[in-house]
């Protein structure tokens, strides 16, 4: 029994042309038993900043709450919205502070810079090692499958609608090869002027 696969999850984020997409599965289960098929794993941290948290469900909730706490204080003190790169450092700092008793989550960040609207995606491991990429990031129990799908289907500088199609196919086909991920999907397309949330219909098994 591995702690990271106790609940099961699949999250990915992709960069497009002046937009980013972040997608997650919707299953909440305890080992083989599925409990909820509408479990939220992507959390809004700012008007154009989202974080996806796969891993142990209790830590998914605690980390998202503690991050929001830190972020709220930051925005009140500094009187400005946080930059995605700075948020990455904040998450890294939070996770490393528990270096020897970690939160069992491996976050994925997707957002647009509040001033320049430049797209940003990144991921971290459970002890806070940050990784910024230019194309896509994946995290979860079926990360290998997600890497395969993204590597095959990804194209840079896609328009928001095309990016949506790409990320949806990557997610759905990857979770179909994982017993503990799936039961539907949710995709956020983050653009300069709007954020669109779409629910994916997939294999419910």
């Amino acid at each position: 029994m591995s702690i990271m696969s106790y609940n099961g999850a699949a999250i990915m984020a992709m960069k497009g042309k002046e937009c980013v997409a972040i997608a997650a599965d919707r299953r909440f289960g305890i080992q083989a038993q599925t409990i909820n098929t509408q479990f939220e794993k992507i959390f809004e941290m700012g008007p154009r900043l989202y974080v996806g948290l796969p891993g142990l469900a209790t830590d998914v909730q605690t980390v998202s709450q503690r991050l929001k706490f830190r972020l709220n204080l930051y925005e009140l003190k500094e009187n400005r919205h946080i930059k995605p790169k700075t948020f990455l450092s904040m998450v890294s700092n939070l996770l490393y502070s528990r270096r020897f008793g970690p939160y069992f989550v491996e976050p994925v960040i997707a957002g647009l810079d509040p001033k320049t609207s430049e797209p940003f995606i990144a991921s971290l491991d459970l002890i806070g090692c940050p990784m910024i990429t230019e194309d896509f990031v994946v995290s979860g129990t079926c990360s290998e499958q997600m890497y395969g799908m993204c590597e095959t289907l990804y194209k840079p500088d896609q328009e928001p609608d095309d990016l949506f199609e790409t990320i949806s196919q990557c997610l759905l086909n990857a979770v179909d090869r994982d017993a503990v991920s799936g039961w539907g999907g949710v995709v956020y397309i983050i653009e300069k002027d709007k954020v669109t949330k779409r629910i994916l219909k997939g294999r419910m098994d």
């Binding site: 003190k77 500094e78 930059k83 790169k85 700075t86 450092s89 904040m90 700092n93 001033k115």
Partner: protein, 235 residues
């Protein structure tokens, strides 16, 4: 066996004043003059550094100190208290960087330093700092200069131009007349020197004043040679 007082030594007078803070401000007003001017493209800090004897090695001790690449500060008041605050400010700036991997904005550093100063007016067994600080910084994100003053009480103010220490009232009056929004850094340095000159007794040389400038390239304390050049254009 208490190593610390549990009560604050800064207490209210019947008229509602914190007398210790008033006395601290008096210590500042008796200190060497310092001046700060914000220009369109930077900030200048200048201070008098008169030594009591010619035997002093002028260039070993500095009043204008760098806190981060983009922020510097100067004081009027008690030198030893200032050293404690520069150490504290540098540590606070680095703590911020460790957490956010981003240089601390000037206003954030000012708030944190002012908070330290306030703690010393409400903690057990300590006295307020006998300095007022002038903090100058360049904000990279907003691409603009900032000038702040921190008082012993912990209050902080954002200034376009200000003077502290001996004769600060005259200094401020002088600046009110001379300051303009369109001042550029070079002119601001010139004006700062003139402001210091108003209260200067004796001959101003590159060894008895210190000047620091802050612009988009960061904060820099001018060398004695550079100060000499500016002085030449004044007298």
């Amino acid at each position: 066996m208490s190593e610390r007082y549990s009560f604050s030594l800064t207490t209210f007078s019947p008229s509602g004043k914190l007398v210790q803070i008033e006395y601290a401000l008096a210590a500042v007003a008796a200190g060497a003059p310092s001046v700060g001017i914000k220009a369109t493209n930077g900030v200048v800090l200048a201070t008098e550094k008169k030594q009591k004897s010619i035997l002093y090695d002028d260039n070993s001790i500095h009043k204008i100190e760098l806190i981060t690449k983009n922020i510097g500060m100067v004081y009027s008041g008690m030198g030893p208290d200032y050293r404690v605050l520069t150490k504290s400010a540098r540590k606070l700036a680095q703590q911020y960087f460790l957490q956010y991997q981003e240089q601390i904005p000037t206003s954030q550093l000012v708030q944190r330093v002012a908070n330290v100063m306030q703690e010393f007016t409400q903690s057990g067994g300590v006295r307020p700092f006998g300095v007022s600080l002038l903090m100058a910084g360049w904000d990279e994100a907003e691409e603009r200069p900032y000038l702040y003053q921190c008082d012993p009480s912990g209050a902080y103010f954002a200034w376009k131009a200000t003077a502290m220490g001996k004769n600060f009232v005259n200094g401020k009056t002088f600046l009110e007349k001379r300051y303009s929004e369109s001042l550029e850094l070079e002119d601001a340095v010139h004006t700062a020197i003139l402001t210091l000159k108003e209260s200067f007794e004796g001959q101003m040389t590159e060894d008895n004043i210190e000047i620091g400038i802050c612009n988009q390239d960061g904060f820099k304390r001018l060398s004695t040679a550079e100060v000499k050049d500016y002085l030449a254009s004044v007298q």
